[in-house]
Protein backbone atom coordinates (compact mmCIF):
# COMPACT_ATOMS: atom_id res chain seq x y z
CA UNK A 1 0.00 0.00 0.00
CA UNK A 2 2.84 2.37 0.96
CA UNK A 3 4.58 1.57 -2.34
CA UNK A 4 1.42 2.32 -4.30
CA UNK A 5 0.99 5.64 -2.48
CA UNK A 6 4.66 6.44 -2.99
CA UNK A 7 4.38 5.66 -6.70
CA UNK A 8 1.28 7.83 -6.98
CA UNK A 9 3.08 10.62 -5.14
CA UNK A 10 6.09 10.42 -7.45
CA UNK A 11 3.88 10.27 -10.55
CA UNK A 12 1.92 13.31 -9.40
CA UNK A 13 5.14 15.16 -8.63
CA UNK A 14 6.44 14.39 -12.14
CA UNK A 15 3.20 15.66 -13.68
CA UNK A 16 3.41 18.97 -11.87
CA UNK A 17 7.21 19.30 -12.05
CA UNK A 18 8.34 22.51 -13.63
CA UNK A 19 5.24 24.46 -12.66
CA UNK A 20 4.81 27.02 -9.92
CA UNK A 21 6.92 29.34 -7.85
CA UNK A 22 8.15 29.30 -4.29
CA UNK A 23 6.70 29.76 -0.85
CA UNK A 24 7.69 32.35 1.70
CA UNK A 25 6.73 32.85 5.27
CA UNK A 26 4.11 35.54 5.75
CA UNK A 27 3.76 36.00 2.03
CA UNK A 28 2.69 33.79 -0.78
CA UNK A 29 2.28 34.50 -4.41
CA UNK A 30 0.58 32.72 -7.23
CA UNK A 31 2.69 31.00 -9.89
CA UNK A 32 4.29 33.43 -12.31
CA UNK A 33 3.47 31.64 -15.57
CA UNK A 34 1.64 33.43 -18.32
CA UNK A 35 -2.09 32.83 -18.38
CA UNK A 36 -3.01 29.51 -19.91
CA UNK A 37 -6.17 27.60 -20.50
CA UNK A 38 -7.86 26.77 -17.21
CA UNK A 39 -9.73 23.77 -18.48
CA UNK A 40 -9.94 20.84 -16.08
CA UNK A 41 -6.79 18.74 -16.05
CA UNK A 42 -4.44 21.52 -17.10
CA UNK A 43 -2.50 23.51 -14.56
CA UNK A 44 -4.36 26.61 -13.39
CA UNK A 45 -2.74 30.00 -13.31
CA UNK A 46 -3.74 33.57 -12.67
CA UNK A 47 -4.08 36.45 -15.04
CA UNK A 48 -1.55 38.70 -13.34
CA UNK A 49 -3.23 41.79 -14.73
CA UNK A 50 -6.46 40.97 -12.90
CA UNK A 51 -4.93 39.45 -9.76
CA UNK A 52 -6.04 40.80 -6.39
CA UNK A 53 -4.09 41.05 -3.16
CA UNK A 54 -5.28 40.45 0.38
CA UNK A 55 -3.31 41.85 3.27
CA UNK A 56 -4.08 42.07 6.94
CA UNK A 57 -2.94 41.49 10.45
CA UNK A 58 -3.93 39.15 13.23
CA UNK A 59 -4.45 41.01 16.49
CA UNK A 60 -4.49 39.58 19.96
CA UNK A 61 -6.71 40.92 22.72
CA UNK A 62 -6.72 40.05 26.37
CA UNK A 63 -4.08 38.97 28.83
CA UNK A 64 -0.89 37.89 27.18
CA UNK A 65 -0.24 34.31 28.36
CA UNK A 66 3.05 33.74 30.11
CA UNK A 67 5.43 31.75 27.94
CA UNK A 68 6.37 28.52 29.66
CA UNK A 69 9.93 27.24 29.83
CA UNK A 70 10.68 23.92 28.20
CA UNK A 71 12.70 21.47 30.27
CA UNK A 72 15.19 19.81 27.93
CA UNK A 73 17.26 18.13 30.64
CA UNK A 74 16.15 14.70 29.40
CA UNK A 75 18.54 15.14 26.51
CA UNK A 76 21.85 16.92 27.25
CA UNK A 77 22.39 17.73 23.57
CA UNK A 78 19.11 19.66 23.55
CA UNK A 79 19.78 21.37 26.90
CA UNK A 80 23.23 22.52 25.71
CA UNK A 81 21.63 24.29 22.75
CA UNK A 82 19.80 26.61 25.17
CA UNK A 83 22.37 27.12 27.89
CA UNK A 84 21.70 30.37 29.72
CA UNK A 85 18.30 31.07 28.19
CA UNK A 86 15.75 28.30 28.38
CA UNK A 87 13.63 27.72 25.31
CA UNK A 88 10.06 28.99 25.70
CA UNK A 89 6.97 27.22 24.47
CA UNK A 90 5.89 28.48 21.03
CA UNK A 91 2.22 27.70 21.48
CA UNK A 92 1.23 31.35 21.86
CA UNK A 93 3.60 34.10 20.76
CA UNK A 94 2.23 37.61 21.03
CA UNK A 95 4.38 40.12 19.16
CA UNK A 96 5.46 43.44 20.67
CA UNK A 97 2.85 45.22 18.54
CA UNK A 98 0.03 43.14 20.03
CA UNK A 99 -0.32 40.81 17.06
CA UNK A 100 -0.25 37.04 17.03
CA UNK A 101 2.56 35.06 15.44
CA UNK A 102 2.26 31.64 13.77
CA UNK A 103 -1.27 32.08 12.50
CA UNK A 104 -1.95 30.18 9.30
CA UNK A 105 -4.14 32.29 6.98
CA UNK A 106 -5.56 30.63 3.88
CA UNK A 107 -8.33 30.88 1.36
CA UNK A 108 -10.63 28.16 2.54
CA UNK A 109 -13.34 28.28 -0.13
CA UNK A 110 -13.99 30.02 -3.41
CA UNK A 111 -10.75 29.23 -5.24
CA UNK A 112 -11.55 27.80 -8.69
CA UNK A 113 -11.39 24.01 -8.57
CA UNK A 114 -8.45 23.52 -10.88
CA UNK A 115 -5.15 21.68 -10.53
CA UNK A 116 -2.99 24.50 -9.18
CA UNK A 117 0.64 23.63 -9.84
CA UNK A 118 2.83 23.00 -6.83
CA UNK A 119 6.05 25.01 -6.66
CA UNK A 120 9.16 23.07 -7.60
CA UNK A 121 11.02 24.46 -4.61
CA UNK A 122 10.78 22.58 -1.32
CA UNK A 123 9.64 24.03 1.98
CA UNK A 124 12.23 23.34 4.69
CA UNK A 125 11.37 22.02 8.11
CA UNK A 126 14.45 22.04 10.31
CA UNK A 127 15.08 20.49 13.70
CA UNK A 128 17.41 22.88 15.44
CA UNK A 129 17.98 23.26 19.16
CA UNK A 130 15.46 20.43 19.53
CA UNK A 131 12.69 22.63 18.16
CA UNK A 132 10.95 22.51 14.81
CA UNK A 133 11.69 25.54 12.66
CA UNK A 134 9.41 26.99 11.47
CA UNK A 135 6.76 26.21 14.05
CA UNK A 136 3.93 26.74 11.55
CA UNK A 137 4.30 26.45 7.81
CA UNK A 138 2.23 25.93 4.70
CA UNK A 139 2.77 23.84 1.59
CA UNK A 140 0.79 22.97 -1.46
CA UNK A 141 -0.42 19.44 -2.04
CA UNK A 142 2.40 17.35 -3.47
CA UNK A 143 4.93 20.08 -2.80
CA UNK A 144 8.21 18.77 -1.42
CA UNK A 145 8.98 19.28 2.25
CA UNK A 146 12.67 19.05 3.01
CA UNK A 147 13.16 17.80 6.55
CA UNK A 148 16.53 18.59 8.05
CA UNK A 149 18.13 17.58 11.34
CA UNK A 150 20.69 20.20 12.35
CA UNK A 151 20.96 18.79 15.88
CA UNK A 152 23.67 16.50 17.25
CA UNK A 153 20.98 14.11 18.46
CA UNK A 154 18.37 11.70 17.08
CA UNK A 155 14.92 12.93 16.20
CA UNK A 156 11.87 11.21 14.89
CA UNK A 157 9.44 13.03 12.67
CA UNK A 158 5.87 12.00 13.22
CA UNK A 159 3.07 13.86 11.42
CA UNK A 160 -0.44 13.12 12.70
CA UNK A 161 -2.72 13.78 9.72
CA UNK A 162 -6.36 12.78 9.63
CA UNK A 163 -6.75 12.83 5.85
CA UNK A 164 -3.24 12.12 4.59
CA UNK A 165 -1.03 9.11 5.28
CA UNK A 166 0.54 9.04 8.76
CA UNK A 167 4.23 8.12 9.03
CA UNK A 168 6.94 8.07 11.67
CA UNK A 169 10.62 8.05 10.75
CA UNK A 170 13.82 8.63 12.65
CA UNK A 171 16.54 10.99 11.54
CA UNK A 172 20.08 10.56 12.87
CA UNK A 173 22.16 13.47 14.23
CA UNK A 174 22.92 15.89 11.41
CA UNK A 175 21.77 13.14 9.06
CA UNK A 176 20.72 13.34 5.44
CA UNK A 177 17.64 15.40 4.79
CA UNK A 178 14.34 13.72 3.97
CA UNK A 179 11.96 14.77 1.21
CA UNK A 180 8.30 14.26 1.99
CA UNK A 181 4.99 15.48 0.61
CA UNK A 182 1.30 15.29 1.38
CA UNK A 183 -1.13 14.41 -1.39
CA UNK A 184 -4.35 15.84 0.06
CA UNK A 185 -5.46 19.20 1.36
CA UNK A 186 -5.45 19.26 5.17
CA UNK A 187 -5.35 22.22 7.53
CA UNK A 188 -3.54 21.57 9.85
CA UNK A 189 -1.29 18.56 10.30
CA UNK A 190 0.43 18.44 13.71
CA UNK A 191 3.98 17.10 13.60
CA UNK A 192 5.55 15.57 16.71
CA UNK A 193 8.92 14.24 17.72
CA UNK A 194 8.27 11.40 20.13
CA UNK A 195 11.87 11.48 21.35
CA UNK A 196 11.38 15.07 22.53
CA UNK A 197 7.75 15.45 23.56
CA UNK A 198 7.86 19.27 23.63
CA UNK A 199 8.65 19.43 19.90
CA UNK A 200 5.65 20.26 17.78
CA UNK A 201 5.10 21.86 14.41
CA UNK A 202 2.04 22.39 12.24
CA UNK A 203 1.87 22.07 8.48
CA UNK A 204 -1.05 23.45 6.48
CA UNK A 205 -1.48 21.54 3.23
CA UNK A 206 -3.51 23.46 0.70
CA UNK A 207 -4.52 22.64 -2.88
CA UNK A 208 -3.70 26.15 -4.13
CA UNK A 209 -1.02 28.77 -3.47
CA UNK A 210 -3.19 31.27 -1.55
CA UNK A 211 -1.98 31.01 2.04
CA UNK A 212 0.46 32.69 4.41
CA UNK A 213 1.76 32.47 7.98
CA UNK A 214 2.01 35.50 10.25
CA UNK A 215 5.48 36.38 11.43
CA UNK A 216 6.95 38.76 13.99
CA UNK A 217 4.78 41.67 12.85
CA UNK A 218 1.57 39.62 12.79
CA UNK A 219 0.75 40.53 9.20
CA UNK A 220 0.03 38.43 6.15
CA UNK A 221 -0.14 38.98 2.41
CA UNK A 222 -1.82 36.76 -0.15
CA UNK A 223 -1.10 37.80 -3.72
CA UNK A 224 -2.30 36.73 -7.14
CA UNK A 225 -5.86 35.91 -6.15
CA UNK A 226 -8.32 35.67 -9.08
CA UNK A 227 -11.36 37.96 -8.74
CA UNK A 228 -14.15 36.27 -6.81
CA UNK A 229 -15.86 35.64 -3.53
CA UNK A 230 -13.84 33.78 -0.91
CA UNK A 231 -13.81 32.54 2.65
CA UNK A 232 -10.56 33.49 4.32
CA UNK A 233 -9.63 31.51 7.41
CA UNK A 234 -7.10 32.26 10.12
CA UNK A 235 -6.03 29.26 12.20
CA UNK A 236 -4.15 29.27 15.47
CA UNK A 237 -3.08 26.14 17.37
CA UNK A 238 -4.55 27.30 20.69
CA UNK A 239 -7.29 29.72 19.75
CA UNK A 240 -8.80 27.77 16.85
CA UNK A 241 -10.01 29.12 13.48
CA UNK A 242 -11.91 32.21 12.38
CA UNK A 243 -13.52 32.74 8.99
CA UNK A 244 -14.18 35.94 7.09
CA UNK A 245 -16.08 36.35 3.80
CA UNK A 246 -14.34 38.58 1.29
CA UNK A 247 -15.05 39.51 -2.32
CA UNK A 248 -12.29 40.84 -4.55
CA UNK A 249 -12.60 42.56 -7.89
CA UNK A 250 -9.87 42.55 -10.56
CA UNK A 251 -6.70 44.33 -9.35
CA UNK A 252 -8.28 44.80 -5.95
CA UNK A 253 -6.12 45.27 -2.90
CA UNK A 254 -8.10 44.61 0.25
CA UNK A 255 -7.30 44.53 3.92
CA UNK A 256 -8.77 41.82 6.11
CA UNK A 257 -7.91 41.80 9.81
CA UNK A 258 -8.48 39.04 12.33
CA UNK A 259 -8.81 39.33 16.06
CA UNK A 260 -8.14 36.54 18.57
CA UNK A 261 -8.92 36.77 22.27
CA UNK A 262 -7.35 34.90 25.17
Amino acid sequence: MKQILLSLGIATALVVAGCGGGNKQAENTAPKEEPTSSAAGTPASVNEADAATLTGKVSFAGDKPAARNIDMSANPACARAHTGSPQKSQEVIVNDNGTLRNVFVWVKTGVPDRPWPAPTGAVELDQEGCMYKPHVTGVMTNQDIKIVNSDPTNHNIHPLPKVNQEWNESQPPKGDSKMKKFAREEVMIPVKCNVHPWMRAYIGVVGHPFFAVTGDDGTFTIKGLPPGKYTLEAWHEKYGAKDVEVTVAPKDSKTVDFDFKS
Partner: protein, 319 residues
Protein backbone atom coordinates in the same frame (compact mmCIF):
# COMPACT_ATOMS: atom_id res chain seq x y z
CA UNK B 1 -4.30 -31.10 44.38
CA UNK B 2 -7.52 -32.98 44.98
CA UNK B 3 -5.70 -35.92 46.62
CA UNK B 4 -3.44 -33.77 48.78
CA UNK B 5 -6.46 -31.85 49.98
CA UNK B 6 -7.47 -34.69 52.29
CA UNK B 7 -4.03 -35.40 53.79
CA UNK B 8 -3.27 -34.24 57.37
CA UNK B 9 -1.67 -30.79 57.33
CA UNK B 10 1.71 -31.77 58.80
CA UNK B 11 2.06 -34.67 56.38
CA UNK B 12 1.28 -32.42 53.45
CA UNK B 13 3.85 -29.88 54.57
CA UNK B 14 6.52 -32.54 54.83
CA UNK B 15 5.69 -34.09 51.49
CA UNK B 16 5.00 -30.99 49.44
CA UNK B 17 7.35 -28.29 50.69
CA UNK B 18 10.64 -29.50 49.36
CA UNK B 19 13.65 -27.26 48.84
CA UNK B 20 12.88 -27.15 45.12
CA UNK B 21 9.34 -25.96 45.90
CA UNK B 22 10.69 -23.14 48.04
CA UNK B 23 13.01 -22.01 45.25
CA UNK B 24 10.19 -22.27 42.72
CA UNK B 25 8.09 -19.98 44.90
CA UNK B 26 10.92 -17.51 45.33
CA UNK B 27 11.42 -17.51 41.59
CA UNK B 28 7.69 -16.99 41.04
CA UNK B 29 7.84 -13.96 43.35
CA UNK B 30 10.80 -12.55 41.44
CA UNK B 31 8.89 -13.11 38.20
CA UNK B 32 5.80 -11.34 39.56
CA UNK B 33 7.83 -8.36 40.85
CA UNK B 34 9.64 -8.12 37.51
CA UNK B 35 6.29 -8.08 35.74
CA UNK B 36 5.05 -5.27 37.99
CA UNK B 37 8.21 -3.36 37.13
CA UNK B 38 7.40 -4.00 33.46
CA UNK B 39 3.92 -2.54 33.98
CA UNK B 40 5.58 0.55 35.49
CA UNK B 41 7.97 0.77 32.53
CA UNK B 42 5.02 0.51 30.12
CA UNK B 43 3.15 3.20 32.03
CA UNK B 44 6.17 5.49 31.73
CA UNK B 45 6.16 5.01 27.95
CA UNK B 46 2.53 6.06 27.58
CA UNK B 47 2.66 8.89 30.12
CA UNK B 48 5.79 10.39 28.56
CA UNK B 49 4.29 10.05 25.09
CA UNK B 50 7.30 7.91 24.17
CA UNK B 51 5.42 5.14 22.36
CA UNK B 52 6.82 5.95 18.94
CA UNK B 53 10.16 7.45 19.95
CA UNK B 54 11.73 4.30 18.52
CA UNK B 55 10.13 3.94 15.09
CA UNK B 56 11.37 0.42 14.34
CA UNK B 57 10.79 -3.00 15.92
CA UNK B 58 12.14 -5.47 17.01
CA UNK B 59 15.44 -3.56 16.75
CA UNK B 60 15.72 0.02 18.04
CA UNK B 61 17.15 2.46 15.48
CA UNK B 62 18.47 -0.67 13.76
CA UNK B 63 20.49 -1.62 16.84
CA UNK B 64 20.20 -3.74 19.95
CA UNK B 65 21.22 -0.74 22.06
CA UNK B 66 20.36 2.73 20.75
CA UNK B 67 21.50 5.95 22.47
CA UNK B 68 19.29 6.20 25.57
CA UNK B 69 18.45 9.88 25.11
CA UNK B 70 15.14 11.67 25.51
CA UNK B 71 12.13 9.39 25.32
CA UNK B 72 14.19 6.60 23.75
CA UNK B 73 15.19 5.81 27.33
CA UNK B 74 11.58 4.95 28.21
CA UNK B 75 10.68 3.08 25.04
CA UNK B 76 13.87 1.05 24.72
CA UNK B 77 14.02 0.60 28.50
CA UNK B 78 10.51 -0.88 28.33
CA UNK B 79 11.67 -3.25 25.61
CA UNK B 80 14.66 -4.34 27.71
CA UNK B 81 12.52 -5.04 30.77
CA UNK B 82 9.99 -6.85 28.56
CA UNK B 83 12.75 -9.04 27.13
CA UNK B 84 13.89 -9.89 30.65
CA UNK B 85 10.35 -10.82 31.72
CA UNK B 86 10.01 -12.89 28.54
CA UNK B 87 13.15 -14.83 29.46
CA UNK B 88 11.94 -15.25 33.05
CA UNK B 89 8.64 -16.60 31.69
CA UNK B 90 10.39 -19.12 29.45
CA UNK B 91 12.42 -20.34 32.45
CA UNK B 92 9.25 -20.54 34.54
CA UNK B 93 7.39 -22.58 31.93
CA UNK B 94 10.31 -24.98 31.47
CA UNK B 95 10.83 -25.25 35.24
CA UNK B 96 7.19 -26.10 35.77
CA UNK B 97 7.21 -28.58 32.88
CA UNK B 98 10.16 -30.41 34.41
CA UNK B 99 9.53 -30.19 38.15
CA UNK B 100 5.89 -29.39 38.87
CA UNK B 101 3.69 -32.28 39.95
CA UNK B 102 0.38 -30.53 39.34
CA UNK B 103 -0.61 -30.83 35.64
CA UNK B 104 -2.78 -27.69 35.71
CA UNK B 105 0.19 -25.69 36.94
CA UNK B 106 2.30 -26.98 34.08
CA UNK B 107 -0.45 -25.91 31.69
CA UNK B 108 -0.62 -22.52 33.36
CA UNK B 109 3.11 -22.11 32.76
CA UNK B 110 2.65 -22.65 29.03
CA UNK B 111 -0.37 -20.31 28.97
CA UNK B 112 1.77 -17.61 30.62
CA UNK B 113 4.46 -18.15 28.02
CA UNK B 114 1.92 -17.86 25.20
CA UNK B 115 0.57 -14.67 26.80
CA UNK B 116 3.99 -13.04 27.06
CA UNK B 117 4.75 -13.86 23.42
CA UNK B 118 1.38 -12.44 22.37
CA UNK B 119 2.11 -9.36 24.47
CA UNK B 120 5.45 -8.87 22.71
CA UNK B 121 3.78 -9.16 19.30
CA UNK B 122 1.11 -6.62 20.33
CA UNK B 123 3.87 -4.29 21.51
CA UNK B 124 5.60 -4.60 18.16
CA UNK B 125 2.34 -3.98 16.31
CA UNK B 126 1.76 -0.76 18.23
CA UNK B 127 5.08 0.53 16.89
CA UNK B 128 4.80 -0.74 13.32
CA UNK B 129 1.19 0.38 12.86
CA UNK B 130 1.66 3.72 14.70
CA UNK B 131 -0.31 3.08 17.87
CA UNK B 132 -3.62 1.74 16.55
CA UNK B 133 -6.00 2.21 19.47
CA UNK B 134 -7.43 -1.35 19.63
CA UNK B 135 -3.91 -2.83 19.62
CA UNK B 136 -2.57 -0.38 22.21
CA UNK B 137 -5.56 -0.99 24.50
CA UNK B 138 -5.22 -4.77 24.06
CA UNK B 139 -1.52 -4.46 24.92
CA UNK B 140 -2.40 -2.59 28.11
CA UNK B 141 -5.15 -5.06 29.10
CA UNK B 142 -3.08 -8.17 28.42
CA UNK B 143 -0.31 -6.69 30.57
CA UNK B 144 -2.73 -6.52 33.49
CA UNK B 145 -3.98 -10.07 32.92
CA UNK B 146 -0.44 -11.36 32.62
CA UNK B 147 0.60 -9.70 35.87
CA UNK B 148 -2.40 -11.25 37.65
CA UNK B 149 -1.35 -14.64 36.26
CA UNK B 150 2.15 -14.25 37.69
CA UNK B 151 0.73 -13.26 41.11
CA UNK B 152 -1.68 -16.20 41.05
CA UNK B 153 1.19 -18.55 40.20
CA UNK B 154 3.25 -17.11 43.03
CA UNK B 155 0.29 -17.94 45.28
CA UNK B 156 -0.04 -21.45 43.87
CA UNK B 157 3.64 -22.17 44.50
CA UNK B 158 3.56 -20.85 48.07
CA UNK B 159 3.96 -23.00 51.12
CA UNK B 160 0.64 -21.71 52.46
CA UNK B 161 -1.15 -22.88 49.34
CA UNK B 162 0.45 -26.30 49.56
CA UNK B 163 -0.94 -26.71 53.09
CA UNK B 164 -4.33 -27.26 51.53
CA UNK B 165 -7.73 -25.75 52.08
CA UNK B 166 -9.25 -24.85 55.41
CA UNK B 167 -12.92 -24.93 54.47
CA UNK B 168 -15.51 -22.55 55.90
CA UNK B 169 -19.21 -22.18 55.15
CA UNK B 170 -20.92 -19.13 53.76
CA UNK B 171 -24.61 -19.05 53.10
CA UNK B 172 -25.06 -15.31 52.65
CA UNK B 173 -26.81 -13.71 49.75
CA UNK B 174 -25.65 -12.97 47.15
CA UNK B 175 -23.34 -15.97 47.12
CA UNK B 176 -19.80 -15.06 48.13
CA UNK B 177 -18.53 -16.93 45.07
CA UNK B 178 -20.58 -14.67 42.81
CA UNK B 179 -19.17 -11.58 44.49
CA UNK B 180 -15.68 -13.03 44.28
CA UNK B 181 -16.12 -13.49 40.54
CA UNK B 182 -17.71 -10.09 40.01
CA UNK B 183 -14.91 -8.14 41.73
CA UNK B 184 -12.02 -9.01 39.39
CA UNK B 185 -14.35 -8.70 36.40
CA UNK B 186 -15.38 -5.19 37.46
CA UNK B 187 -11.76 -4.22 38.15
CA UNK B 188 -10.69 -5.55 34.76
CA UNK B 189 -13.41 -3.54 32.98
CA UNK B 190 -12.19 -0.51 34.92
CA UNK B 191 -8.60 -1.11 33.79
CA UNK B 192 -9.77 -1.51 30.18
CA UNK B 193 -11.68 1.80 30.41
CA UNK B 194 -8.55 3.41 31.86
CA UNK B 195 -6.46 2.07 28.98
CA UNK B 196 -9.07 3.35 26.51
CA UNK B 197 -8.88 6.80 28.10
CA UNK B 198 -5.08 6.82 28.07
CA UNK B 199 -5.02 5.86 24.42
CA UNK B 200 -7.74 8.41 23.62
CA UNK B 201 -10.29 5.89 22.37
CA UNK B 202 -12.74 7.11 25.03
CA UNK B 203 -12.96 10.09 27.30
CA UNK B 204 -12.13 9.81 30.97
CA UNK B 205 -15.78 9.93 32.11
CA UNK B 206 -16.55 6.20 31.59
CA UNK B 207 -13.41 5.40 33.62
CA UNK B 208 -14.49 7.74 36.41
CA UNK B 209 -18.09 6.48 36.34
CA UNK B 210 -17.17 2.80 36.39
CA UNK B 211 -14.68 3.45 39.22
CA UNK B 212 -17.67 3.84 41.53
CA UNK B 213 -19.12 0.49 40.43
CA UNK B 214 -15.79 -1.36 40.66
CA UNK B 215 -14.95 0.18 44.04
CA UNK B 216 -18.42 -0.64 45.32
CA UNK B 217 -18.20 -4.30 44.33
CA UNK B 218 -14.68 -4.66 45.71
CA UNK B 219 -15.68 -3.07 49.02
CA UNK B 220 -18.77 -5.28 49.21
CA UNK B 221 -16.67 -8.40 48.71
CA UNK B 222 -13.87 -7.39 51.07
CA UNK B 223 -16.19 -6.23 53.85
CA UNK B 224 -18.32 -9.35 53.50
CA UNK B 225 -15.23 -11.54 53.86
CA UNK B 226 -13.90 -9.50 56.78
CA UNK B 227 -17.16 -9.47 58.67
CA UNK B 228 -17.99 -13.14 58.21
CA UNK B 229 -14.61 -14.85 57.94
CA UNK B 230 -12.22 -12.70 59.93
CA UNK B 231 -10.99 -15.81 61.73
CA UNK B 232 -9.81 -17.37 58.49
CA UNK B 233 -6.25 -16.19 57.98
CA UNK B 234 -6.03 -16.65 54.20
CA UNK B 235 -9.33 -14.92 53.54
CA UNK B 236 -8.70 -12.13 56.03
CA UNK B 237 -5.23 -11.33 54.71
CA UNK B 238 -6.39 -11.34 51.10
CA UNK B 239 -9.41 -9.15 51.84
CA UNK B 240 -7.38 -6.66 53.90
CA UNK B 241 -4.77 -6.39 51.16
CA UNK B 242 -7.43 -5.80 48.52
CA UNK B 243 -9.22 -3.25 50.67
CA UNK B 244 -6.03 -1.26 51.37
CA UNK B 245 -4.86 -1.27 47.78
CA UNK B 246 -8.30 -0.17 46.55
CA UNK B 247 -8.29 2.87 48.84
CA UNK B 248 -4.81 3.73 47.62
CA UNK B 249 -5.93 3.28 44.02
CA UNK B 250 -8.92 5.62 44.41
CA UNK B 251 -6.64 8.28 45.91
CA UNK B 252 -4.12 7.83 43.08
CA UNK B 253 -6.90 8.04 40.49
CA UNK B 254 -8.02 11.41 41.86
CA UNK B 255 -4.41 12.60 42.10
CA UNK B 256 -3.65 11.49 38.52
CA UNK B 257 -6.73 13.30 37.20
CA UNK B 258 -6.04 16.49 39.14
CA UNK B 259 -2.36 16.53 38.13
CA UNK B 260 -3.36 16.10 34.48
CA UNK B 261 -5.67 19.10 34.72
CA UNK B 262 -3.06 21.14 36.59
CA UNK B 263 -0.39 20.50 33.95
CA UNK B 264 -2.61 20.60 30.87
CA UNK B 265 -1.00 23.82 29.63
CA UNK B 266 2.55 22.53 30.01
CA UNK B 267 4.55 22.09 26.80
CA UNK B 268 5.55 18.54 27.77
CA UNK B 269 4.49 15.73 30.15
CA UNK B 270 5.31 16.96 33.64
CA UNK B 271 6.86 14.74 36.36
CA UNK B 272 3.91 15.33 38.71
CA UNK B 273 1.42 14.01 36.20
CA UNK B 274 3.69 11.19 35.03
CA UNK B 275 4.39 10.08 38.62
CA UNK B 276 0.76 9.92 39.73
CA UNK B 277 -0.44 8.37 36.48
CA UNK B 278 2.16 5.62 36.43
CA UNK B 279 1.52 4.88 40.12
CA UNK B 280 -2.20 4.67 39.28
CA UNK B 281 -1.48 2.19 36.47
CA UNK B 282 0.79 0.04 38.66
CA UNK B 283 -1.56 0.04 41.65
CA UNK B 284 -4.41 -0.73 39.23
CA UNK B 285 -2.50 -3.86 38.21
CA UNK B 286 -2.06 -4.73 41.89
CA UNK B 287 -5.77 -4.17 42.52
CA UNK B 288 -6.70 -6.60 39.77
CA UNK B 289 -4.14 -9.15 40.98
CA UNK B 290 -5.34 -8.94 44.59
CA UNK B 291 -8.98 -9.24 43.54
CA UNK B 292 -8.00 -12.36 41.60
CA UNK B 293 -6.15 -13.69 44.67
CA UNK B 294 -9.17 -13.09 46.89
CA UNK B 295 -11.44 -14.78 44.35
CA UNK B 296 -9.10 -17.78 44.28
CA UNK B 297 -9.05 -17.93 48.08
CA UNK B 298 -12.84 -17.76 48.24
CA UNK B 299 -13.22 -20.57 45.72
CA UNK B 300 -10.59 -22.61 47.57
CA UNK B 301 -11.74 -22.18 51.14
CA UNK B 302 -15.40 -21.22 51.17
CA UNK B 303 -17.93 -24.01 50.83
CA UNK B 304 -20.99 -23.07 48.84
CA UNK B 305 -24.45 -23.40 50.39
CA UNK B 306 -25.90 -26.91 50.02
CA UNK B 307 -28.71 -25.75 47.71
CA UNK B 308 -26.23 -24.19 45.32
CA UNK B 309 -24.12 -27.35 45.31
CA UNK B 310 -27.24 -29.44 44.71
CA UNK B 311 -28.22 -27.32 41.72
CA UNK B 312 -24.72 -27.67 40.34
CA UNK B 313 -24.85 -31.44 40.84
CA UNK B 314 -28.15 -31.65 38.96
CA UNK B 315 -26.68 -29.62 36.16
CA UNK B 316 -23.65 -31.92 35.93
CA UNK B 317 -25.84 -35.05 35.97
CA UNK B 318 -28.14 -33.76 33.25
CA UNK B 319 -25.13 -32.74 31.17
Amino acid sequence: MSKSRWLPRTAKRLILTSRADIWLHRYALLWAFSTLFLVVAGGLVTSNDAGLSVPDWPLSYGKLMPPMEGNIFYEHGHRMVATTVGLLTIIMAVWLARAERRPWMRRLGWIALFAVVAQGVLGGMTVIFLLPKPVSISHACLAQLFFSTTVAMALFTSERWRRGAAPVDDSGSPALHSLALAAPLCVFVQLALGAAARHRALGVLPHIGWAMVATGVVLWLAIRVLTRHSGHEELRRSALALLSITFLQVFLGIAAYMSRIATAEAPQPMPLMVGFTVAHVAVGALTLALSVVLAIQVFRHVRRPARELQTESIAITSA
